[in-house]
Structures are given as C-alpha cells and as structure tokens.
Symmetry: C2
Subunit: 251 residues, 2 copies
C-alpha cells in the first residue's frame, strides 16, 4: 500500500515519464534490434518486477501492450515469447469525403445522380451478401472537388435494416456521412481493386474511356445484418490511398 517516491532514474536509463512505457520501450527495442530474436523466451513478469523494482501490474501493463501490438505472444505456464515476424498491416484511413476535399482547399459539392427505392435485384443481393429480396435504397452520386470530379459513388442501403434513411434528403450531406453519424456498425469489409473505366464511368468521371480507376468497395454490417454496400470509384491518376504504419500499432 505504500507508494514511496521513486529514485529519479539516471540518464543512462531511458527515463521517460511512465515506468510501464519505459519497460515496454526497452523490450521493444531489444526485439526490434534483433537482440531478442523471434521465438526467444523473454523474462517472466516476476523477474521484470525485480529488475525494474516495481509492482507486477506495471510489468503486466507493458507486456499486455506488447502482446496487443503483436510483438510478443504470451502463454500460461510457458512464458512470453518474441513473435515470428508479422505480415505487415497498413491502416487505411477512409475519411469523410467532404472533409477530404476541403482539406485540399477545394470546394466540395455533392451531386446526386439518382436516388430511388426498389426491391433488390439479384445483383444487389450479391453485393449485400443476402439471399432473399428486400427493399433497398439505391443512390448514385458524384463528389466534386472544385471543377473536378473527386469520385463517383454507387451505394445500396438495406431499408429493412435502416428504414429511417428513406426519409433523408441527400441534398448536401453525403450518404456515407449520414450513415456514419446515424447508423452504428459492427463490422466492415473493404475491397480495393483497379479497373478500366468503361464509356459510362469515363463520362461520369470526366476521363477518357479505358483510364485506370481505383475502386474501393465497402460493405458494413450491424450484428450480422447488412447496412450498406458502396463502390467508391476514383480517377486512378489522381487518387491515392495513403497509409502510415508503425509496428507499435500506434498507426
């Protein structure tokens, strides 16, 4: 229960504010430098307690964070081990369209091309990954960045799961923004692919037919029930998805 003032760490120690963060960094450095190779068993919590002269919770916090970040694997009775190298992961931020456009200093404009309710066709059902026909809302729109087309959006929304969307007039707020702020989702899947623009798509994006475009198709679910499927198509020469990643999991 006692909480004595700790001796100030010497300069040689990489003395940051938090002890648990320092423990984590020390171990991370040993792993990243190769000093502790994959498969190596690292000291047990009770040893690290002694080494750092701290409570076990403090060590546990550091090791748990390393396990979440994928740098170590922990097994009861056996101990904690440096992980085999991970497949890289890239975190792609899919931001709000309006914010994305305005971040470049351009004026954002939404142009709704079509907006209608219907019963799902077979192709709609495939996109929503459902087996039975159901009422849907189909929206097609263009997002403008100044005088240029930023992207074309082709969206289906499952009206049986999001009935309130039927009453929304999408005159300025993009459908994706409305959904994100009004409909919670529990799972999403993104598929990124490249395609050649056909005549129709080329006209919509103001490109030459055959131009390479980047398509991000995203499906979201809430408790296993489909909410929406959207295809966002961007001119390939201008649009880039950029992802930063560091192995710490910090993004």
């Amino acid at each position: 229960m006692e909480n004595l003032k700790r001796e100030p760490a010497t300069d040689a120690d990489s003395a940051k504010g938090q002890l648990s963060a320092r423990i984590r960094q020390d171990i991370e450095r040993k792993i990243m430098s190769g000093e502790w190779p994959p498969g190596k068993r690292i000291p047990i919590e009770r040893e690290l307690m002694i080494e750092y002269d701290c409570a076990r919770m403090t060590v546990n916090k550091a090791l748990s964070a390393l396990a979440v970040a994928g740098l170590i694997e922990r097994r009861r009775r056996a101990g904690s081990f440096v992980s085999r190298p991970l497949s890289q992961a890239a975190v792609i931020e899919i931001s709000d369209v309006r914010a994305e456009v305005e971040a470049t200093g351009q004026v954002y404009t939404l142009e709704v091309l079509s907006h209608r309710q219907r019963t799902s066709t077979r192709m709609d059902m495939k996109r929503l990954d459902v087996e039975r026909p159901r009422p849907i809302l189909a929206i097609a729109c263009r997002h403008w960045s100044g005088q240029r087309v930023h992207s074309f959006e082709d969206r289906l929304i499952d009206l049986s799961n999001v009935p309130e969307v039927a009453a929304v007039a999408f005159d300025s707020e993009p459908p994706g923004t409305w959904l994100r702020t009004h409909v919670p989702w529990s799972e999403a899947e993104n598929r990124i692919t490249a395609l050649n623009a056909d005549a129709d798509l080329a006209a919509k994006l103001l490109l030459k037919e055959g131009s390479a475009c980047l398509q991000v198709e995203r499906s979201t679910w809430r408790d296993d029930r489909p909410i929406t499927n959207v295809r966002m198509i961007y001119p390939g020469d201008s649009y880039r998805l950029v992802a930063h990643f560091s192995p710490k999991g910090a993004g």
Copy 2:
C-alpha cells in the same frame, strides 16, 4: 487487500468472464446504439466503481481500452466523452507473397529479372526520400502463381543502411520476405494507386497495354533511416486487397 469471491452475476447482467471486459462492452453498446450520443459525458470512474462494485483499476482498464479504440475521449478534470464519429479505417494485411500465392493452392515461383548495385539516381533518391546519393541495391522480379504472373516487383534497398543484403542471393526467397525477417523497421508508408499498364509493364504482367493495374508502393524506415522502397504492381482485374474491420479495433 481483500479479494472476496464475487457474487455470480445474474443472467440479466451480460455476465462474461472478465468484469473489465463486461464494463467495456456495456459502454460500447450504449455508444453504438446511440443511447449515448457523441459528445455525451459518460459517468466518471468513481461512479462506475460503485455501479459495478469494483476497484477503480478495473474501470480504468475498460475506459482506457475504449479510448485507445477511439470510442471515447478522456480529459483530466473534465471527464470522459463519447467521441465524434471516426473516419473509418481499414486494416490491409500485406502478407508474404509466397504465402499468399500458396494459400490459393498455386505453385509459387520467383523470377529475378535484374539485381544490381549502383549509386542512386535522382529518381531513386526521390523514391527513398533522401537528399544525397548513396549505394543502393535495385531488384526487379516477377512473382508467379502457377502459369500466371501474380505481380511485378520493383524494389530499391538502401545499402548504406542494410549492407548485409548485398551478399544475399535472391534465388527463391522473395526480397520482401528476406527483409521482413532480417531487418527490423520502425515505420512504413503505403500508397495505393491505379495505373494503366504501358507497353513494358503490360509485357511483364502478360496483359494488354492499357490494362488497369493496382500499385502498392511501400517505403519503410528504421529510426528515420530509409530501408527500402518497393512498388508491387498487380493486374487490376485479378488482384484485390481485402480488409476486414470492426470498430472495436480488434481487426
């Protein structure tokens, strides 16, 4: 210091194994359902202690996890607040090429097209984001999936930071795999774009000129020093990056 056996939770309670996980889930559910809208101040830790009849550390663990996941924001003195809706994020797994091919049941073959050391050109320096010329290793290769070209790889490696790579014969192990298992990295950036194959690239990928291709350009650093820049180019019609995501941050 006492640790009395807790009353078994009733069925009405969403009684999962861990109390901190249950607290987290309860709050997450209230946020996701909209019962606690963005901006709402949530109960302080000391109130939740009483509600769940537990120690403050247990509540803190749940709330810290929610903060890391981006569902709440915490401010000293002010309290904890439900976050504004996040931009979606998609975690793209960039797996080992060989493993990716073999996962589809195909035979993987590496074909090294060129492999040479040179001093960096201006274009190389731009790709590696460095200002001064330096020795590099440039590798071009094709990854085969059975009789089809899975991808074309155009890679630069900074020999001043990874000198040991000069001695590696890339006869069967892809360069990316060697790097990932031998060179720790601290940061990576991925840029995903679509492009039309020119005559040369089309020949390499066995495509028609002009076909849409997906390019993933990735740079990695170790302690701010460049390690490698690679352009992986995939036939757009066959290759897809698929990303799953759930808002809990579980991936």
